[in-house]
């Protein structure tokens, strides 16, 4: 029991303890952190002073405002401090001091910012008395790298074709830097998936400011099938801007792209301010389009730069002293070179009697190794001395990828419209340069990085000089007010007769580059339509490629609204290649598909497609109502009908695709397929139709073994002028003369053709020969009356693909009486020494027949020709000379 009592006593302290939990008393000590109340005193901003300019961190200061708890500092690019995502606005709140350091960069540079401070207490806000401003500059940087370090940085767009992306660390470009390598193959780029095939996008999220720069610089290499490669960036406000890389296939290139040359991508992307906000880019991309084969692309040392820092890499105006003459090379003749002290002019002297003698042709290769500045044409002044009759001037450009392009013109052209010093101003649009046989690159005109100029001449057997000065790259705007064609009241759009030289077509017409064979030429040989028709035009295209597009802007204000149709003369001369896989296709079936597009000022695109352009000159009349609207889904408003007074643009597109006998695509890439064009009009016809135009040569109706080319009789040429519907002077000589003559043989009807010539500088009289595709022959016959001294070069100019072979037979010892010649094609040999021959099968490809005539005693004289015919029944080896009694 005692023990129990004791135990119960133990709980008494517990009870006491349990109940005794109160703390000692602590007096509460209130602390006051109440905010200030009442009016806030005036205060003003102290620094920076208005107009302050900086590119780095700095401190704002202001006066203390009495009774203020804290301050709000606002910075904006708008005077009204607009707090909007499109503007710069930031508010630093709760600042207890009267100063604040801005320690982060403002996102837009080189603009004026405004700042203000507001003092705050519990119940009042008081703004500073006046707002301040300052300029936040971009840092003066020369170059900003877009680094290529890790392949993970570069991401392939999943919706496009597959490509392998890696970092090449082999110092491929020799610049000491790694390269981004993009490799793809046909297996992935041509899977038959329209959405993705041939489209590869490699993106680096860059989010980088490019202030202080104005161009991208990079090393670039591409080897592979045809491809369009773009550099694309996403700008600050989310617009995609791109610029095409001028690819020089298999070449290690250096590329400079000015921001100002980027264009806005509008298809399927967001459009905001339509301005390239390059100051801050978000993505840097390499985009491949229309890339349906294999390819390897490397890009390295990408950086944003100041263009001017690289200006020595560019040529605006040629300085012939840029590269030492000791490094120059030549072809066939080493000209005596004299360069003016200022480098502005070069004289290339050639000496017929020198050692070694100048023997007719030669080229001086002048090193450049520079980029062309942005431009459309080369302008230069040329002076020629010492030319012979047929001399031709050449100006060639050798591109980075070893494609060589040329311009050529007879010396005679360079001797007209001279300035007081005897110089001819020559303007060569870059797109007017034409292919040469030396095309070792991708066959596309880049005119970007140029290795050499080749200046030279051919067919000139004289002593003289070529002077070239003021050679420069220009833009069309330097020489033209505008490029729009004013359509005549009669509806005439173009007849190609107002040009002096083919290059002038390019002043107004534009052409695409994606087909790679776009070229526009003036042509006197294939034209029809009488002597008043000076030229037709040849527009070329390459098979199995994208359309070759030619376009012209139009002003139709003078055209009668009665015009209800579009009219054009066309003649297809596409050439089937010698490829056994396409041999099954009849020659006549190889014709360009032509799309004609007329664009309205309200945005409608009206198109008409000619599936196969006729092989013989044909007038196409296409009623407006037969054009089809092709962009209806892109129009916001109800489409307007095609109306001549609202047409602002015209475009032609040509293409042809080869297929094997199974119907599978079989690309041949046949080059330089011509389509001849003439007499483009708006017309009053209200119905579409086709009309064959005269001039086609066919087997004679009364004797199909012969194809009469010319008899010069009045039923063919009712007037004298009409002779030149078919005949033309190919050289400009003061003794050129062709005219009808009554001097005829017993078989000659009432007229023959007189041909005048003089000495050893040959005339060149050309007869256009548009043979029907049904024509076959083994030889040619003609009647000639000579003068006892003439040598007549009878040239059958045979087209084969893009090459015209001058197949020649020299007729010598021509009697002074009318004589009938029959000459089998075996006797016609290529003047350039190839083994090309004329046969029954290809004789229809003889484009024209030209006569060169010379004698050895330098006298002016005449010969006569008549009754020119192709013969089907003779032999290739036939050669008969028969006096006509």
């Amino acid at each position: 029991m005692k023990r129990m009592r004791f135990l119960s006593l133990l709980f008494i302290p517990l009870l006491i303890t349990a109940c005794n939990t109160s703390e000692p008393h602590y007096e509460s000590k209130p602390i006051n952190v109440e905010r200030r109340v009442g009016e806030i005193g005036d205060f003003k901003l102290l620094s920076p002073e208005n107009g302050f300019s900086t590119d780095s961190n700095f401190t704002f200061t202001w006066e203390e405002a009495s009774n203020a708890d804290y301050y709000q500092l606002e910075i904006a690019n708008t005077e009204t401090f607009i707090n909007d995502p499109d503007e710069v606005y930031v508010k630093e709140n709760n600042i207890s001091a009267t100063e604040f350091e801005l320690d982060y960069p403002l996102p837009r540079k080189d603009i004026t910012y405004f700042w203000r401070v507001t003092a705050v207490n519990k119940d009042h806000k008081k703004p500073c008395n006046t707002n301040g401003n300052f300029t936040y500059r971009s840092k003066d940087v020369d170059e900003i790298p877009i680094k290529i370090e890790d392949e993970q940085d570069w991401v392939l767009h999943k919706e496009g074709s597959y490509a392998d992306i890696s970092i090449d660390r082999s110092n491929f470009f020799g610049n000491g830097k790694d390269s981004l390598a993009i490799v793809f193959d046909k297996e992935h780029t041509s899977q038959g998936i329209p959405k993705s095939d041939g489209w590869i996008v490699v993106t680096k999220t860059e989010d980088r400011e490019l202030y202080g720069t104005d161009a991208f610089y990079f090393n670039f290499f591409y080897s592979g099938h045809d491809s369009t490669i773009l550099i694309r960036v996403l700008d600050y406000d989310g617009e995609y801007w791109h610029q095409q890389v001028q690819i020089a296939n298999n070449s290690k290139q250096t590329i400079l792209m000015k921001y100002e040359d980027f264009t806005l991508r509008t298809s399927g992307t967001n459009i905001f301010n339509r301005e390239f906000d390059w100051e801050h880019i978000r993505y840097f991309e390499i985009v491949f389009e229309r890339t349906f084969g294999d390819g390897v692309c490397l890009i390295s040392d990408v950086k944003a730069v100041k263009y001017d820092n690289y200006s020595n890499m560019f040529m605006k105006k040629m300085d012939f002293n840029t590269r030492p003459q000791s490094e120059w090379t030549y072809e066939n003749y080493d000209f005596i070179k004299t360069v003016s002290e200022d480098g502005n002019e070069i004289e290339l002297h050639y000496d017929r009697n020198g050692t070694p003698p100048f023997n007719g042709y030669g080229f001086q290769n002048i090193n450049l190794y520079k980029f062309f500045v942005k431009g459309d044409a080369l302008r230069m002044k040329i002076k020629i001395t010492g030319s012979s009759a047929n001399a031709v001037f050449y100006f060639r450009v050798l591109e980075e990828d070893m494609d060589r392009w040329q311009f050529k013109t007879p010396f005679t052209y360079l001797k007209t419209d001279l300035d007081a010093d005897g110089y001819k101003e020559l303007i060569i649009p870059l797109k007017a340069f034409q292919r040469t046989d030396y095309m070792q690159g991708d066959g596309a005109k880049q005119f970007y990085f140029v290795q050499k100029f080749n200046i030279g001449l051919a067919d000139n057997y004289a002593t003289g000089s070529i002077f070239v000065k003021d050679l420069e790259v220009i833009e069309y705007k330097d020489i033209l007010d505008n490029r729009t064609r004013l359509v005549g009241a009669d509806g005439r759009i173009e007849d190609f007769n107002n040009y002096d030289i083919y290059t002038q077509i390019y002043y107004y017409w534009d052409q695409s580059v994606v087909n790679k064979d776009e070229a526009m030429k003036l042509d006197t040989i294939h034209k029809v339509g009488g002597g008043g028709n000076k030229y037709c035009a040849e527009f070329d295209y390459k098979a199995d490629m994208e359309q070759a597009v030619y376009q012209l802007y139009l002003d139709t204000k003078d055209v009668s609204t009665d015009m209800k149709s579009f009219r054009i003369w066309l003649n297809d001369a596409s050439v089937k290649p010698n490829d056994p896989m396409v041999a099954y296709i009849p020659d006549d079936d190889v014709c360009a598909e032509m799309t004609i597009q007329l664009t309205m000022d309200s945005g409608e695109w009206y198109r008409y497609v000619i599936p196969k352009v006729e092989k013989e000159w044909t007038q196409y009349t296409i009623a407006f109502e037969d054009f089809e609207l092709s962009n209806e889904t892109a129009l916001f408003d109800k489409p307007n009908p095609l109306s001549v007074d609202h047409i602002i643009h015209m475009a032609f597109a040509f293409q042809y695709f080869y297929y094997d006998q199974t119907g599978k695509s079989h690309p041949t890439y046949a080059i330089a397929n011509p389509v001849y064009i003439d007499e483009i009009y708006f017309a009053p016809d209200t119905e579409s139709g086709m009309k064959e135009l005269g001039g086609t040569l066919r087997p004679d109706i009364d004797d199909e073994t012969k194809i009469t080319i010319d008899t010069f009789e009045e039923d063919i040429y009712p007037t004298d002028e009409e002779l030149f519907e078919n005949w033309s002077y190919a050289t400009v000589l003061d003794y050129n003369l062709m005219e009808f003559s009554s001097d005829v043989s017993s078989q000659g009807g009432s007229r023959s053709l007189l041909m005048q010539y003089k000495g050893s500088s040959s005339v060149s009289y050309v007869r256009n020969t548009p043979f029907s595709k049904k024509c076959t022959a083994k030889g040619i016959a003609l009647d000639i009356k000579g003068d006892g001294k003439a040598v007549v070069y009878l040239n059958l100019n045979l087209r084969s693909g893009s090459t015209v072979f001058k197949m020649r037979y020299a007729i010598v010892n021509i009697p002074t009486e009318w004589t009938h010649y029959e000459i089998g094609f075996d006797y016609f040999l290529d003047v350039n020494g190839t083994f090309k021959s004329i046969s029954q099968g290809n004789m229809k490809d003889i484009e024209n027949i030209s006569f060169g005539i010379i004698n050895n005693n330098n006298t002016q004289s005449q010969i006569y020709i008549d009754n020119m015919r192709m013969l089907k029944n003779c032999e290739y080896s036939t050669k008969t000379v028969t006096a006509i009694v």
Binding site: R3, M4, R5, L7, S8, F11, I12, L14, L15, A18, C19, N20, T21, S22, Y26, E27, S28, K29, P30, I31, V33, E34, R35, S56, N57, Y70, I75, P85, V88, Y89, V90, K91, E92, N93, N94, I95, S96, A97, T98, F100, E101, D103, Y104, P105, P107, E149, D150, D153, V155, H157, K158, E159, V201, V202, T203, T205, E206, D207, R208, R282
Partner: protein
């Protein structure tokens, strides 16, 4: 019942009744006193922030790295989490053309910007005495290609352990990095996802456990016994419960992991009602039943702390990240974790410039969960320090490693779901402080007193965090609202405005 027994029984009953009555009378919701009896963490491990590899350091503009370090200096964390991907430097992988993974070979290219940048981060931590949980997000391989054939076995793949310790060995032995205290055996292993969109689709607790065992052995074999493995790094309460239960019940696994680590992206409602603390305590209690060393040897850590509301999955950003309320809630989150026994909390995350979301079209945009953005190309509003940086600075500088954390005793939401507080006595009793949040829509008046001894400075620095009363100095960093010549040993009475965090400290934070 004998008389004696009746007496004892009566006495006990009386004592209990008295105690209950007496205690009920003493629940004081107005006067906060932080005393020994309410210590919840004896040796707090500090607060910190996720600060990992900058996935594209090229994007850092001139001066932005220096600014980031300045901001980090002021945050002054004591723990960080640093994650990377092995894909960034594994090269020349050769599987020998067979299915035998033990003979596979590969090399490492550590000389790249990502590793360089990782080392910069780790070296800072090294130099600033910051404990780092270092890890790898996932096993290597393209999510659609699995070129290393690791997605089936995930971290249990024998090569994972080798890669892990190879990397750690490089960092420790060749780069002199000594701050790595934990290894994260893949991020959020319970978040499995779908094949072709997640490398983790095949993972299970068992696979992960096997991976932990492999890594532990490899670490030990190569002399890295002091580097612990995070026990879980899971996300969400449900998944975390699975892993914590699994770990706590396995004697082997308990020895192989170093903590109980988890992530919580908390809905506002759970924070606002004080329910976060309730849930963590429940989880703690459940785990403790299996593992008596929880809270002693193995501490609970939150390795990713953030708010769920406002999350935009498309951009992996939080729309509210720049609001003052985000800072208030993250402080409340921290407080609730600490009073529930969580020994360190790592905020997600430091800088928008670190992590990116990679879109289908190959582009990437920065994730917006940071305290600021170091991307100089971001808008000025994104670059400025966000309010939650300032609230975090107050907490990281007060709740230091080695601190004692005191519950107020009245934080249970059954008393007041709108008010919570804790007391802190710093390491070596160098200072003391109080953290309190008023989540109510009206001001409240409370008193605060530190009821245990500490080296008193005789001053109280008062910091008030709300939209109207936060104070920022000329350098852009938080400043005290007031300095009082008083002591936290006194009963300090303070009226706390609505929706406000208050931090009282005997030292300047």
């Amino acid at each position: 019942m004998s008389k004696a027994k009746r007496l004892i029984t009566l006495s006990l009953l009386t004592a209990c009744v008295c105690t209950i009555v007496g205690c009920n009378q003493k629940v004081d919701l107005d006067n906060m006193v932080y005393k020994k009896k309410n210590i919840v963490i004896q040796n707090f491990e500090g607060l910190g922030v996720e600060w990992g590899t900058y996935e594209d350091p090229d994007k850092l503009s001139s001066g932005s790295w220096e600014r980031s370090l300045k901001i980090m200096n002021r945050l002054n964390p004591q723990v960080t989490r640093c994650m990377l991907n092995y894909d960034w430097f594994i090269t020349n992988f050769d599987d020998k053309g067979d299915n035998d993974k033990t003979n596979d070979t590969w090399e490492y290219n550590f000389s790249n910007k990502l590793m360089n940048n990782t080392i910069d981060v780790l070296r800072y931590c090294n130099d600033h005495d910051i404990d780092v949980a270092f890890g790898c997000w996932n096993v290597p391989g393209n999510v659609r290609a699995d070129e290393y054939d690791m997605f089936e076995e995930v971290t249990s793949d024998i090569r994972w352990a080798k890669m892990t310790v190879d990397v750690i060995e490089y960092l420790v032995k060749f780069q002199g990095i000594r701050c790595i205290k934990y290894f994260v055996n893949s991020n959020e292993p319970n978040y499995t996802g779908q094949m072709y969109s997640s490398k983790n689709y095949n993972n299970t607790f068992e696979i992960w456990s096997k991976g932990v065992a492999n890594v532990r052995k490899e670490l030990d074999d190569r002399g890295f016994n002091d580097i612990k493995i995070v026990g879980g790094d899971t996300t969400g309460f449900e998944g975390t419960d699975e892993y914590f239960t699994g770990i706590s019940k396995s004697k082997t696994l308990r020895k192989q992991v170093g903590d109980y680590g988890f992530h919580v992206y908390c809905p506002n409602m759970i924070i606002d009602t004080g329910d976060l603390a309730v849930r963590i305590k429940q989880m703690y209690k459940k785990t403790k039943k299996n593992d008596k060393d929880l809270g002693k040897v193995r501490m609970p850590h939150v390795w990713e702390a953030g708010l769920y509301d406002g999350k935009d999955a498309a951009t992996d950003s939080n729309a509210y990240i720049a609001n003052y309320s985000y800072g208030l809630r993250m402080a409340d989150y921290t407080l609730q974790c600490a009073i529930s026994g969580v020994s360190s909390i790592v905020y997600w995350d430091f800088d928008d410039g670190m992590h990116f979301i990679y879109k289908e079209d190959g582009t990437m945009t920065s994730k917006g969960w940071g305290m600021f953005s170091s991307l100089g190309t971001d808008s000025a509003a994104k670059q400025r320090l966000r309010p939650w940086y300032h609230s975090s600075v107050l907490l990281t500088n007060l709740m230091r490693r080695g601190s004692q954390i005191f519950d107020s005793g009245v934080n249970d939401p059954k008393y007041d779901k709108n008010f919570r507080s804790l007391g802190v006595i710093g390491p070596n009793k160098e200072y003391a402080g109080v953290v309190a949040v008023n989540r109510d829509a009206k001001a409240i008046t409370k008193t605060f007193r530190i009821g245990e001894d500490f080296k008193d400075s005789g001053k109280i620095y008062v910091y008030i965090y709300n939209e109207n009363e936060l104070k920022i100095g000329e350098d852009g960093f938080v400043r005290e609202n007031k300095v009082l010549e008083m002591s936290l040993k006194d009963q300090i009475e303070l009226t706390i405005p609505n929706d406000t965090l208050v931090v009282l400290s005997s030292k300047e934070l």
